[in-house]
Amino acid sequence: MVVAFIQRAIMQGIPLLFGSTGEILTEKSGNLNLGTAGVMYVGGISGVIGAFLYEQSVETLNPVLAVLIPLLSSMVGSLFMGLIYAVLTVTLRANQNVTGLALTTFGVGFGNFFGGSLIKLSGLDVPSITLTQTSLFFKKSLPFADKLGWFGEIFLSYSFLAYAAVAIAIVMSVYFNRTRSGLNLRSVGENPATADAAGINVGKYKYASICLGSIIAGLGGLYYVMDYACGIWSNDAFGDRGWLAIALVIFAIWRPNLSIVGSILFGGLFIVHNYIPNLSMSAQELFKMTPYVVTIIVLVIISMRRKREYQPPESLGLSYFREER
C-alpha cells in the first residue's frame, strides 16, 4: 500500500511540478503570473482539442502523431496565453495581479467552454470527449517496469511526460545556476535596471521566460487530462491545481529542484486522506488543506528569517520602465 501511495502521490504531483517549474521560470524574470491556473486549463484543453480532432479524423491512430498532435496543440495554446500576459504586462506595463487574474478567468472559461461545447461545435455525433486511445499512447510506461517489483513501481512506472517534468525541473535548475543566460535572467528578475545597464535586453528575457514558462505550465494540464484522467475531460475536474502550483513555487523557495520534492509531497498531502483508514468524509476535506497551510508557514518563516536567498525575486510584480529610475 505504501508503494501505491507513493505512486499516486507522484502522479498527483506531476501536474503541480509542471505548473510550478513554469511559474518559477516566469517569476525569475520578475513577473508574477497569477494566470497559471488558466494557462494550465488552456494547456489541457488545447491538447484535448488536438487529440479529439485527430481521433475523429482517422480510423487508426499513428502512435507518433497521436502524441505529437496533442503535445503541439497544447503548447500552442499555452504559448498564446503566455503571449497575452507578456504583451499586457511587459509591453503595456499593466498591473500583473489584475492581468493574471483576468487570464485565469479567461483560461478556465476557455477550458470549460470547449470542454462543454467541443462536440457541438465540431458537429460530430459522439456522446462525450473520451480520448482513451490517445491516452493509451500517453500512458505508455517503460515495458520492464512491472517486472522490478516495488522499485519499478515507484521509479519506473510513469509515462514519458512525468519524466519530462522532472527532467525540465532539473534542466531549469542547472540553467539558472550554471549558465550565463540563466544568470542574466535572474538579474532581470532581481534588478532590471542593473541588468539593463549591463547590456541585457530586459524585455526579451521577460518575454522568453513568460512564454516558455507558460508552455511548461500548460504541459501540466496536458499530463493531467491525458495521463492522470485517462483522456477523459470533464469540466472543472482540474480544480485548484493551478493555484496549488503557485503555492508550490513558494514552498520550493523559487528553486526548481526543490520543486520536484515539493510536488511529490504536495501530491501526497493531497491524497493522504485516502490512505488513512476510517477517515470520515469531512475529515478528508481538512486533510486537503495541508498543502496550503504548509505553504503559509513557509511564507511566514522566510519573511521572518529574511535570508536573502529565500526571498522572491526582488522586482517580482513590478513592471520595468527604463526612464523611471
Partner: protein, 513 residues
C-alpha cells in the same frame, strides 16, 4: 594630436529645458593620468560624465577618444570605446556574488564557467591590489567592497578610461587610502582616470590635474603641482555675487532648539552624523551649508522625529511655559502633542512633504486632518487655507482642487511652504527650499522665511548656494562629512571661508574617539 591623449572633450554643451547643465566644456585626459573634476553641487559634473558614459547625448560639441571623434549614444557604445563609469549608486544585484555581478551581461565565448571567470577576475584584483572575496554575496558587503566590485567590473570589461563619481563620499579614511593606492596602480598601468569630487585635500593628493566647473561652466584646468587649496576654492566658488536679499535684525533672540552631541548611524552602518552640536535661536535664520550628502537630510529628519539617534539630545525650549523637552526618540505625533510647533519643509517635496495625486485642499490637511472630534474630515478650514495660500503666495493653479502633481515646481513649493508656515511654527526647518525654483519664486520664499524670523521663529535653512546663504542667514553652520566644521557669522564671513570649511574632511575640532 599626440597619441598620449586618451579622451578629449571639445565645447560640450548640454541643456535640460531652460537649464544649462554644461556650457562649452573642454577637457583632455592623457593615458596614465588622473584628472579630478571639481565643483559644487549642481555644477554639472555628473551630467558631463554621463555624456561620456552614454547616458546622455550632448547638444553640441565633440568627444574624441584616442584622437578620433566618437559618438557615444548608449552605455554599450561607451563600453565599446573602453569607457567605464562607476556611478554613485551602485548597479549590482544583491543576491549575486561579486564574480557573478562582474560577468553579468557579458557575451563571452565558450561555456559559462564561473570558476574560470573568477580566476581571471582574481588576476585583475591581484594586479591592482584589490582585496576582495569574489564569492561573497553583494548584500553581505560593505559599501567599500561594493565599490570595489564596480571598479573590478569595469576593468574586467577592459576599460581604459575609468570615471568615478564621488567615489570617496561613502568611504572611511582607511578605505579611501586603499582606493587611492589602487588608482595609482591603475595609473601606472597607463589607464586614464577621471574622478569627480569636491574634497580639496583628496584632489591635491591623488590627481595630476584638476578641472573646475561652476554652475555648468568650465572655469579652467590647473596642474595639481601648481595648485593649492585657496586657488581651487576660489575657482570653485567664484566671486561673490550680490543678490540683494533683505536681511532684517531681530533684537530679541533666545535659544529655541539645542542640538547636543547628535550621532546617527545609517542602516548600512555608516556614521552619517558625528557629534553634531549647535543651537537654533528664535528670530534668526540659521543656515546649514555643506556638500550634498554630508548629513543635512538626516539632521533635519532626526529633529523632526523620523529617525532614531544613536546619541545625543534635541532640547526644545518652549516659549509658552519655559519647559524644556527632549525630542529625541519621539514620533512626529508625540512631538506635536508636547505642544512643540515644529514645521518641516523636506527636500523631497512630492515624495514626503506632499502627496502628488491629492489636490491642494487635501494636502493642506496632512498636518491637521486629525483636528476636531469625530471620524469625519473637516475640509472647510483646509479649503480656506488653500485659497488663502493660492491668493497670498500667488500659486498658479486652475483651482484648489487640482492635484499638486500637475503644478509647476515653484508652485508645489509655495503650497508646501505655505502649509508649514500656516501652522504658526516656533521652529521652521526648510531643506533646499528654492531648489529648481525660478528667481521670483525664490525671492518669495526668502521673504517668507524672513517674515517668520521677524515673528520670532527659529528658522533652519539648508541651502546649497553660498551667495544665498551669506545674504539670507544670520549664522551659518558648516557641516562636512557629518561633522560640524565651523559655525560662522554670515555678516562677516566670506565665501572662501565657507568653501574651505565645506571641503575639510577632518572636522578640525576634537574627535572624541
Amino acid at each position: 594630436m599626440s597619441t598620449q591623449v586618451a579622451i578629449e572633450l571639445k565645447n560640450i554643451t548640454k541643456t535640460f529645458g531652460n537649464v544649462v547643465a554644461n556650457k562649452d566644456v573642454n577637457l583632455t585626459v592623457n593615458r596614465g593620468e588622473i584628472l579630478s573634476i571639481l565643483g559644487e553641487n549642481g555644477s554639472g559634473k555628473t551630467t558631463l560624465m554621463n555624456m561620456i558614459s552614454g547616458i546622455y547625448f550632448p547638444d553640441h560639441g565633440q568627444i574624441f577618444i584616442n584622437g578620433e571623434e566618437a559618438l557615444i549614444k548608449s552605455p554599450k557604445d561607451a563600453f565599446d570605446y573602453k569607457i567605464g563609469m562607476i556611478h554613485q549608486h551602485f548597479k549590482l544585484v544583491d543576491v549575486f556574488t561579486a564574480a557573478e555581478n562582474i560577468v553579468l551581461g557579458l557575451e563571452e565565448k565558450g561555456r559559462y564557467n564561473i570558476k574560470k571567470s573568477t580566476a581571471e577576475i582574481q588576476k585583475i584584483c591581484d594586479k591592482y591590489g584589490f582585496d576582495i572575496d569574489l564569492n561573497k554575496k553583494i548584500y553581505e558587503m560593505s559599501v567599500s567592497e561594493k565599490q570595489t566590485v564596480e571598479i573590478v567590473k569595469v576593468l574586467y570589461r577592459g576599460a581604459d578610461i575609468l570615471i568615478l563619481d564621488e567615489p570617496t563620499a561613502v568611504l572611511t579614511p582607511q578605505e579611501i587610502k586603499k582606493l587611492f593606492d589602487v588608482l595609482r596602480n591603475m595609473r601606472k598601468d597607463s589607464k586614464s582616470i577621471i574622478i569627480i569630487t569636491h574634497k580639496l585635500n583628496e584632489v591635491l593628493e591623488i590627481s595630476d590635474k584638476v578641472s573646475v566647473l561652476r554652475k555648468g561652466e568650465y572655469i579652467g584646468t590647473v596642474q595639481t603641482s601648481e595648485a593649492n587649496e585657496s586657488i581651487l576654492t576660489e575657482m570653485m566658488v567664484g566671486k561673490k555675487i550680490d543678490l540683494n536679499i533683505e536681511r532684517s535684525d531681530v533684537e530679541e533672540k533666545a535659544d529655541r532648539l539645542l542640538i547636543n552631541n547628535m550621532c546617527y548611524v545609517s542602516r548600512e552602518g555608516v556614521k552619517v552624523l558625528n557629534h553634531v552640536t549647535f543651537a537654533a535661536r528664535s528670530g534668526e535664520i540659521l543656515g546649514i551649508a555643506g556638500i550634498a550628502g554630508s548629513g543635512q537630510r538626516e539632521l533635519l529628519e532626526s529633529i523632526a522625529g523620523l529617525r532614531k539617534l544613536k546619541h545625543g539630545s534635541i532640547i526644545y525650549n518652549n516659549p509658552k511655559n519655559g519647559n524644556q523637552e527632549n525630542l529625541r526618540d519621539k514620533t512626529p505625533v508625540e512631538i506635536r502633542e508636547l505642544g512643540v510647533r515644529l514645521s518641516f519643509v523636506p527636500e523631497d517635496r512630492l515624495g514626503m512633504g506632499l502627496v502628488g495625486n491629492m489636490d491642494i485642499v487635501d494636502n493642506m490637511m496632512l498636518r491637521s486632518y486629525k483636528k476636531g472630534k469625530g471620524v469625519f474630515l473637516e475640509r472647510k478650514g483646509p479649503k480656506d487655507l488653500a485659497n488663502k495660500i493660492i491668493d497670498e503666495l500667488e500659486v498658479v493653479t486652475p483651482s484648489a482642487n487640482t492635484p499638486v502633481r500637475n503644478l509647476s515646481g515653484g508652485n508645489v513649493q509655495k503650497v508646501l511652504v505655505g502649509r508649514e508656515i500656516a501652522a504658526s511654527p516656533t521652529v521652521l526647518m526648510a531643506a533646499y527650499p528654492v531648489r529648481g525654483l525660478d528667481i521670483n519664486s525664490s525671492y518669495l520664499i526668502y521673504n517668507l522665511l524672513n517674515e517668520q524670523k521677524e515673528k520670532g521663529v527659529a528658522v533652519i535653512f539648508v541651502g546649497e548656494d553660498l551667495d544665498v546663504l551669506l545674504e539670507l542667514c544670520d549664522r551659518i553652520v558648516v557641516i562636512s562629512s557629518g561633522q560640524i566644521s565651523g559655525i560662522v557669522d554670515a555678516r562677516t564671513t566670506t565665501k572662501e571661508e565657507i568653501g574651505l570649511l565645506m571641503t575639510k574632511t577632518d572636522g578640525g575640532e576634537k574627535n572624541e574617539q
